[in-house]
Amino acid sequence: MNAPQIPAAILIILIPLMSSYAIPLLGWRWRGAGYYLALSAIGASLVCSLILLYTVLTVGTIHYHLGGWLPPWGIEYVIDPLNGFVGVVVCCLSFLVTVSSRASVEKELPDKKVRFYTIYLLLFTGLMGITVTGDVFNLYVFLEIASLAAYALIAIGEDGAPLAAFNYIIMGTIGACFYLLGVGYLYIMTGSLNIADLAKLLPALYPSKVVLVALAFFLIGTAIKMGLFPLHVWLPDAYTFAPSAVSSFIAPLMTKVMAYILIRVMITVFEPSYSLKAVPVGTILTWLAAAAILVGSILAIAQSDFKRMLAYSSVSQIGYIVLGVGLANATGLVGSLLHILNHGFMKACLFSVAAALMLKTGGRNIYQLPGMHRRMPFTMAALAIAALSMVGVPPTCGFFSKWYLILGAIEAGQWIFVGVILLSSLLTAVYFMRVIEIIFFRPAPSGGHATGEGVRDEIPLSMSVPLWILAAGILLLGLFSEKIVSGILRLALPAGY
């Protein structure tokens, strides 16, 4: 079968990239241009990603050769069910988060709107590039584009932000450099940079120690980038001090795309039989993930800052995704892919609520929130849905990814991880129920706030509509998770699974 060469595969990168250069030009005359241009570019990418996913599912894997150079010499973009799925998740979430970014950017960064959306689109370009590329070095370039944009976006935040951004630059650069070294070692052995070509050449070279070193570099590099437990130190500060619009964009997407790199390296570049089973990488990953899940949850309980609590909960949720990869069976991998989708929706929803709270109260301390359900009933209802999903209450989507992960752990005979997942659900319940208890059941302080008790003060429509789409998405994804798993994720699994 001829590989379809459809232009959507390149437009998904080109439109946001070119728009990001157009924003400063247009923004010179019309300062509001950034928001609309960013929104339409990401919207166009969303359409492209849907076309791509549809084509992948109906016709087959898409190969797009840049400049007409045939692989393995030229760079090619490859879209298979795995990254088609991740691409749709990234585009969909970015679109919703971008819609809701308007009010909080208006409030927190009034004089930096133009520059903000320029860098914002570059970050989106980087994330999409990582998703669609089929070339390990091209992936590194997009990784750096995304990371540089993320450093800059985090640095424009509030008081502690520059230091958080600097620590992220140091850690992120170590991670990216390790990834680059991994590419270098593979290049020494195979002389190729194309993922499909590497997958073909590597099995003959598996006994070599150089390949093992490459695998180790890839592993540590991506682990730093996605904030896997002992290497997560940059993450809480970066998420907490970044502007709300940025943290609700980076938190659900950045770490997920990095987790996608890990999955791509573990199951496509290397064969899972080598990368997860022959060397004890699977065991290392699962134990680190278990530690991440528990430590993240426990640290989240200790926080009184809402955004910082969410950041530590991200650390623990990354653990779930990595756990599913490390279990090295189909059910576990399905669980972690589903968790990429579900956790993206949950975190986007939660960080949008955090942005709403920043907009209306200017603070993030959860002990200042009593009586908030009277002021912002709809926003707080969305928070409750997302919190229930994080805990894993059945009709919401959070339940289903945990379900697959638990099944995967049972299938692998690793009962201890079943215990870890259940225990962490309990811990998650502790820190979210505390927030819900404060918001819904604690009486509001009398006379403390100028706005007064019981006064309805909802967020603007541009924020509440995406928030509610996210909240509804959490419920719908739960109801339709069986369809997603059988329709997309089963196809994304590698042949050997």
């Binding site: 230091l163 600097f166 630059i169 070294l181």
Partner: protein, 120 residues
């Protein structure tokens, strides 16, 4: 032993440089020193990539008469990759310096422990 050390000395230098940079990034308290460490770290990787492209007796990879085989030329691909990596490293340094300016304006110091003290 000495032979194996000497014949691959460029790789040993890369490892030593990388570890120096790594130590500076993690062990130093001054933020500018961390940044310099990051630069050394990235340069070490560039050196490593350049080394893997080099051949003894290889010439510039421009097709010449009388030299039809690829074996006579240096492998240009790692060098081209490093052009990109140099650009990345320059822009990372740029962003990091801009962030350092922000930090200095806010706290009037670039010592990490003093900043952490004043943040409290």
């Amino acid at each position: 032993m000495i032979d194996s050390l000497m014949s691959k000395y460029n790789y040993w230098i890369y490892i030593v440089l990388m570890m120096i940079g790594f130590y500076a990034m993690i062990g130093k308290k001054n933020l500018v020193k961390k940044l310099i460490g990051m630069n050394i770290f990235q340069t070490a990787i560039i050196l490593y990539y350049i080394s893997i492209g080099v051949k003894k007796g290889g010439t510039v990879p421009v097709l010449m008469e009388g030299l039809p085989h690829a074996a006579a030329y240096v492998n240009p691909l790692p060098h081209v990759l490093m052009l990109t990596a140099i650009v990345v490293s320059v822009s990372t340094t740029g962003v990091a310096l801009a962030v350092l300016l922000l930090i200095y304006r806010r706290y009037k110091t670039l010592e990490e422990d003093e900043i952490l003290k004043s943040m409290r």
